[in-house]
Point group: D2
Amino acid sequence: MGEKTMGVGMIGYAFMGAAHSQAWRSAGHFFDLPVKARMTAICGRDRDATQAAATRLGWEGVETDWRALIARDDIQLIDICSPGDTHAEIAIAALAAGKHVLCEKPLANTVAEAELMVGAARKARTHGVRSMVGFNYRRVPAIALARKLVGEGRLGEIRHVRAQYLQDWIIDPQFPLVWRLQAERAGSGALGDIGAHIVDATQFIVGDHLAGVSGLTETFVKERPLPTSSSGLSAGAGGGKGAVTVDDAALFIGRFHGGALGSFEATRFAGGRKNAIRIEINGSLGSLAFDFEAMNELHLYDGRSSNETGGFTRILVTEPEHPYLRAWWPPGHLLGYEHSFTHEIADLLTDLGNDTDPTPSFEDGLQVQQVLAAVTESAAASSHWQTLPTRARTAA
Amino acid sequence: MGEKTMGVGMIGYAFMGAAHSQAWRSAGHFFDLPVKARMTAICGRDRDATQAAATRLGWEGVETDWRALIARDDIQLIDICSPGDTHAEIAIAALAAGKHVLCEKPLANTVAEAELMVGAARKARTHGVRSMVGFNYRRVPAIALARKLVGEGRLGEIRHVRAQYLQDWIIDPQFPLVWRLQAERAGSGALGDIGAHIVDATQFIVGDHLAGVSGLTETFVKERPLPTSSSGLSAGAGGGKGAVTVDDAALFIGRFHGGALGSFEATRFAGGRKNAIRIEINGSLGSLAFDFEAMNELHLYDGRSSNETGGFTRILVTEPEHPYLRAWWPPGHLLGYEHSFTHEIADLLTDLGNDTDPTPSFEDGLQVQQVLAAVTESAAASSHWQTLPTRARTAA
Amino acid sequence: MGEKTMGVGMIGYAFMGAAHSQAWRSAGHFFDLPVKARMTAICGRDRDATQAAATRLGWEGVETDWRALIARDDIQLIDICSPGDTHAEIAIAALAAGKHVLCEKPLANTVAEAELMVGAARKARTHGVRSMVGFNYRRVPAIALARKLVGEGRLGEIRHVRAQYLQDWIIDPQFPLVWRLQAERAGSGALGDIGAHIVDATQFIVGDHLAGVSGLTETFVKERPLPTSSSGLSAGAGGGKGAVTVDDAALFIGRFHGGALGSFEATRFAGGRKNAIRIEINGSLGSLAFDFEAMNELHLYDGRSSNETGGFTRILVTEPEHPYLRAWWPPGHLLGYEHSFTHEIADLLTDLGNDTDPTPSFEDGLQVQQVLAAVTESAAASSHWQTLPTRARTAA
Amino acid sequence: MGEKTMGVGMIGYAFMGAAHSQAWRSAGHFFDLPVKARMTAICGRDRDATQAAATRLGWEGVETDWRALIARDDIQLIDICSPGDTHAEIAIAALAAGKHVLCEKPLANTVAEAELMVGAARKARTHGVRSMVGFNYRRVPAIALARKLVGEGRLGEIRHVRAQYLQDWIIDPQFPLVWRLQAERAGSGALGDIGAHIVDATQFIVGDHLAGVSGLTETFVKERPLPTSSSGLSAGAGGGKGAVTVDDAALFIGRFHGGALGSFEATRFAGGRKNAIRIEINGSLGSLAFDFEAMNELHLYDGRSSNETGGFTRILVTEPEHPYLRAWWPPGHLLGYEHSFTHEIADLLTDLGNDTDPTPSFEDGLQVQQVLAAVTESAAASSHWQTLPTRARTAA
């Protein structure tokens, strides 16, 4: 391991903060990294709660004001795990202060905010200050393998992209109005929270961007009990009710620049589906299928195989030849959800050590935001087609 | 078994004709039916080929003119298995001649034709002459069970309908321009051929109709070799090329009258998927999932089960308590594709014997045709939303 | 189709009789056969019940004495579907009378009976009178494909054979004492009824015989209500109780002549498993896996594939290149349980037309009986190893 | 978190050492533990290699003599991750020195060694010095849930236990003769390495012990290239060949005290199976099925459900109601292999903090060793039945 050490400051310590912390703690023990991360401080509004989190999660210090965190000389990287409405202000300030930034997805709650962030990132980049948006699913080995196989042309010309992100955690109408159900905090509902992941993951895999979309959104449960506390994925219900101001589900169809058709669905109302990210790609030469509920598997169909023995091959993505796997256990010994973050941190530290820009970039985050905005606009305009800004295919 | 016998005349003897023949031969051996079907004659243009088919498929006689078939006194039921462009004329003539009609799906190639057929069916019905459209997948036991469970309210209020019909048989650009790829014969491509099935099957299961749709269609391979013969699913390629005038794939999103969102996809370009009819329904109280490639299974999620032991239950739909199964083998002894037709014929003969109208009716076929037309129109209008004619929920 | 017609007489018309009847009715409609079967008569003890069965199942006439059936000049083939204790006497008489014989498995209830039957079959064979034992699962396309792949050396040297036949139909201690639970009628329990199938199927697939076994059997429910009627898989319970004289479950391990290890289990007490025939074969170059509950699938692992994209390929055994499939539907349109019998009859009629001996032969049936007997003996002798008679590898 | 801190010394730093290290680093960040573990030192023979491992794995210091490690005052717990032939001497010395011991499985290479270790553990226990054997799979949440459900009687009386541990890592005859293939280091081959896991896991789940067994073992590849280095799961091949002195595969059948039949298979020659631990339990009221290659799932069949909607329910074992899951992520966010060790350490530290004896105990390890020895003896005696020492059912 290298000698260079980098102080990290993290903002937010709920679900994402816990996942990131495990990654910060673990990456260096499994990957040979040019930079050693020091878990310097986390930041939250309540000092006692933040201190308790720091102890639990393994951070050395705490701050209660994110501006103070950014200002610290012993911190060179800011990891933003707070709700979406805070991303733009924090990220822009951090970059301006010369701090590298890892920002959780979605990059921002609006395209306008995301554009400002991209501007800040571009400017900072000229000074060697780098930024990354946290689409962790890119680092699930099976998804990284999918991208590699598509990039090598194994599937030929891509014709179909089919993606669903299905959850069911708010199916109960008595589930309270947590911040993720409030437009002013979360921007959108299923669309931005989970739809963003499948937009990014599919574009990443096929190496192409959506060129246009037609969408539909719905809020099935229009009022919910006010929560006793506004953070987290769950919370007790307090008195009174409030309006749900985000979508419960979003569906859209679209076309990629390269001609593929896309079908997307994000919902929090698919009973029995807990975190089912299902992606299927069909090309002229083959197909791929993935389901996060069996995240260590990738199913590959090679259209050039004989009819006699052809079919989908279930690849158990645990071989040393698979992305990230050389760092882990023998074949057949599965990885879990948190490993996607460990890989994200390992890749980020590698890029920082090598003075290269990490991906996905803020530009990538903006592009996803543009897709989400187009879906919302289409849904508001009788599903009329919304053309997306042209952008070259992503680099392999 | 009853004493009443009914002469059947079938038009067309390719794929559908062979499937129907096995059903006509088998239904009475497994189900106790009030009417006995006699396989009187089949009709095709080429006498020798038709005679060979009659021998092979078990029909007593042959005709080379469908009008002659309809005119025969010893035939009381006409089974139409010819391409879609012939349905309207034959069905209308047969009904006018007082013959019951079973017409393969899609009912017609256009809404206008389908409306004429519905008119004819209504008129005939007043004289006890009955008609049915052949959406055979309704009679797959797992799908019939799905409808029963939804009809009993087991899933609560339906929120999501997700359906894909995936095939790959024309993925090779050298596959010839068979009649199913010609608009004037087939009406549409994947949309009408297989999309029609998932529109009907999902509406049947949820007992509700689509209220509006937004669609997208594509023809990936725009020119193909001319075939040496124009019938069948496969054919040798002759000289020259011709334009593919139907869609290779159709995607659409929609809303049901009851508020459910729908996501549909029909394609013949999903490499490795041979006949994958995948249907998933999410309701406020539970979910269902089905894949025809495992057609003897239905997966049921009961949202009221405990978190500790809840999940999707794989029901092997081979118990005597399941639809149609009492007629067949002990539990665990699977049924196949052709059984859906045997059930269709058994139900049809039961209805005819009981003087009740079989379902799906020509009105049901017209309604599906209206959905397909709306998808086509939306696709031609920048995916703009197309509202469908209002119609009450289907009877349970 | 050829001109030669052969009269068939079937004995027994319960579960197996119904399955065979559908096969006799269907084979000629799908396969091009040199001999046409005529369903001349069935035989049962009760004339009214037998007549009703004949009408339902499509047989022309009835007999109430199997000797009379055998004596008929218009019958050239006897299909034995009665309980195991009747097989030897009927088959030997039929062969002596110059009638071809298809005998349901297990060939007999004892090795001694089976040996007599083999003697009769050998003698008859010299006169062109042929015989076959009805191990229908050999004709499940996925199993026939498995044999073909192993025969071609795709799996290399076979190391492991793993087979389970799991059912649960008598798990309820109130299920009555039907004939299949009586040693004098059925010979043995799970061992002979379903264990016989996996012995035959695995030996067929690997093309090798078991060389020795060590076994264990158990009767979990030792007394059951007497049935009101003794035939069939289910029956009402009458008054009184009787001793269960067959095994409820049988387990054994063994070695094949070629060095493979075998692990076998047959039980009627595996709750939730209805007809789960699970076979897995591991060789030096690859592996195969099959489960009858998904009978249209075969899973193949090619050990020479790269680690990056290797894994088990799910072959949907519905392609024209697969055994028996050219006769049926397009790819992806599944077959069911009964098709194994249709294939059996098609193969039998083809062999009879071609004057070749059908397989599996009575010798094959005897060899399976020897394995079952060795398991029983081992179970009675503290699981001590029982060496089986040497016999050359089966012909490919 | 509590204030008490305990120094840990670990011996061995290969595969098991890496897995244990991640657990020692992580347990306290996810579980609220009464004792804080300090990763004081690891021990290996080569100082440089050990120092590099210490740095990589997060240990403060190193020792090159395990006796020195045990002697350190700042170490209260010894974690034994070295090969099986070292377990007895180290564990007995550590316990005698008043150090708690966590010993990897199998407890020892022989029953005699295991008995000495049990003696040492019992003596130490009287002084509050505790011991545990590392059967980590007990802490896979799905397996812990299986035990809970069986313990609650959900499956009724247990009739069948079916377990396979399938790997393929030495299928290549050129794979070298690593220490795991040498009897004097590893004791046995597949039997002790992986067979031990399924013996323990199934006995744990059903809460009962095997009463007798009949076994079979085989060494398919009898000679292998000598390795260049003797540690680890893989190694380069050096010059010359040596005899494989352990089994490549072991099969056995058995009976549990409670009457259940057991079928077991452990092999390193199942091509395409990487770490397939498959366990199936059938009881009078229900069944369970598990496969480690889908380790976050448990399949439960409730025999009291209706035939109409019954079947195996796929429980995604990621709910807060499931064992260990409250510490981790939201539902649907999977865990991996390493979490079984984190749970093991968390349980161990909890027990040490609460002054209770951890499980599985050395007695449990001995009992597994007795089963393995009985299999070996039976295999050497023509599979003759070997009766196991009587022992009461395990406590729930």
